[in-house]
């Protein structure tokens, strides 16, 4: 695969996967995938169902480890042993399955493993009030039918859940925010707000990796598009220099890289 980046842009690169492969039993979910993400850009990843997009995301966010190939993030090779490592390194992810805990409340989910504590002598005790207040702020920027931050996630509608997961990823400063189909279940207004949020994240200097089946969204928001097909990365384009038709042709296999 050729490199679609202009020479000189190399130092701008935040994340690079190099020949990453991963199989589940006999299913080859990722085959020799090499993609790059630049700092301060929105990069889109598109492809058919089962093309391997979520699997690639899970490799970057520390859930899977590639069976071969390497991942370079922020200048150094990384080998995350757990999602904790990835979050430490500055990668926040909105997973396709949202990764919410249904039996916990909205605010508990928002602050999961990022809890605010107050010390009582040597004992760190949760500052529930502070978290609830912050949570209310975070959620109200995004959701329309604001879910009560003290209600359990189990009770939220599909879209409300997605809003919570996005809030969580956006709420903590990070170098890279990965969003795996963040607006799939969202209504019109919520989608608009999430798109605003994505743009804002970019403008604030974060990089965003966006997976979406919504073409107009991809063409509208992204700076760079990578296309996957059947586990392989079959091409990358600067969004400004391509058309929806070309991308569709890549996805369906009607055109080569």
């Amino acid at each position: 695969m050729t490199d679609h980046l202009q020479p000189g842009a190399r130092e701008d690169i935040l994340l690079r996967t190099e020949h990453v492969s991963l199989s589940f039993g006999s299913v080859r979910a990722l085959v020799d995938v090499s993609v790059t993400l630049r700092r301060g850009e929105i990069t889109a990843l598109v492809g058919d169902n089962g093309a391997g997009k979520s699997t690639l995301v899970r490799c970057v966010s520390g859930i899977h480890r590639p069976q071969s190939g390497r991942i370079v993030f922020d200048g150094g090779e990384i080998d995350f042993h757990s999602p904790e490592d990835a979050r430490e390194a500055g990668i926040e992810t909105v997973h396709q399955n949202l990764a919410l805990v249904e039996d916990l409340t909205v605010w508990q989910n928002l602050f999961l493993n990022r809890e605010i504590v107050r010390r009582f002598g040597p004992v760190p005790v949760l500052d529930r009030r502070a978290m609830q207040v912050r949570a209310k702020e975070m959620v109200s920027t995004l959701a329309v039918n604001v879910p009560a931050v003290r209600s359990r996630v189990r009770r939220l509608s599909g879209g409300q859940r997605q809003a919570v997961a996005i809030c969580r990823a956006a709420g903590f400063s990070s170098k890279l925010v990965i969003m795996d189909e963040p607006t799939a279940a969202l209504g019109v207004q919520e989608t608009a707000r999430v798109e605003e949020l994505i743009v804002r994240l970019r403008d604030e200097g974060h990089s965003v990796l966006l997976i979406s089946h919504n073409f107009s969204q991809v063409m509208r928001l992204s700076d760079q598009v990578w296309v996957m097909r059947a586990g392989r990365c079959v091409g990358g384009r600067r969004t400004a220099e391509t058309t929806g038709e070309e991308i569709v042709a890549l996805i369906t296999g009607a055109a080569g890289s």
């Binding site: 859930i63 979050r87 919410l100």
Partner: protein, 324 residues
Amino acid sequence: MANATLAAPEREAWSARLKDVGFWAEWAALVGLIVLVIVFQALNPTFLSSGNIASMLVAAAILIILSVGQTFVVATAGIDLSIASTMTLGAVAFGQAYAAGWGLPLSCLLAVVAAALVGVANGLIIAKGKITDFIVTLGTLSAASGLALILADGKPVTIIDPALLSLSTGGIGIFGWSVIIAFVVAVVAHVALFHTRFGTHLLATGGAPESATAMGISTQRIKIAVYTISGVLAGLGAILLVARIGAAEPAANTAFLLNSVAAVVLGGVSLFGGRGTIVGPVIGALLLTALVNGLTLLGVSQFYQPLAVGIVVVLAALLTRFQR
């Protein structure tokens, strides 16, 4: 703009609360306990005499401590079947140390350490070996009681120690020392579960392990921690047990296992993990103890007691019916 989560008017909210599933599930044990107390008191006025309350509380102390340990494990969707035999092992370790002249404090320490080690082993095998909790703790149930037998060479050790005796007989008012210890354990456990990061991570691990992992929580560490807690509490239970029966015996007290799980479930904690209270299991333990005490007071024939216990347990559980 209208808001779908807007609360309905006050009165409706209250009736809704009564209809709300969580409400009854969480307080089922309490309702059951109150009903039971009323029935027994009506049938036998000595039931609520201060002497009988005191002896019920003392009788419940060990079960309360074990149930708290079991709650931590169950909240992570696990189950500690070894809890009773771990206690036996702790008791035997205590007995051997005491008989060897280690003195009371060191013997107590050894009891807790021995039991904690079993807990750590459980946790390590479950977390690292990725084996189902049920089968691992079933294995350690057997292994721990085997170890207890080997250590004790099958013989009980009688322990007569004034300090230990006063632990089991003394106290403040109607609260024996062992009850006070049990309540302190419960309060600490409550704080740990609901007011620390550990507690939140524990519930997340139980409710959605994959989500917890994705958020960077080490579910393995949580698993090891809860089994260790369960082991430590079994060790504490062992000390109270030795104090209570005046001997360290290697024959396991199997009733504690099922009763500890029953107390947890009656307390409204789901065996599927992810949610839990400490108050519930404590009340569950009191309920089970009061039940046996009341039946004994009423002189219900031995053969009818298991039947009565079974029926009451199911009835009490009916109150938790809407759980989840």
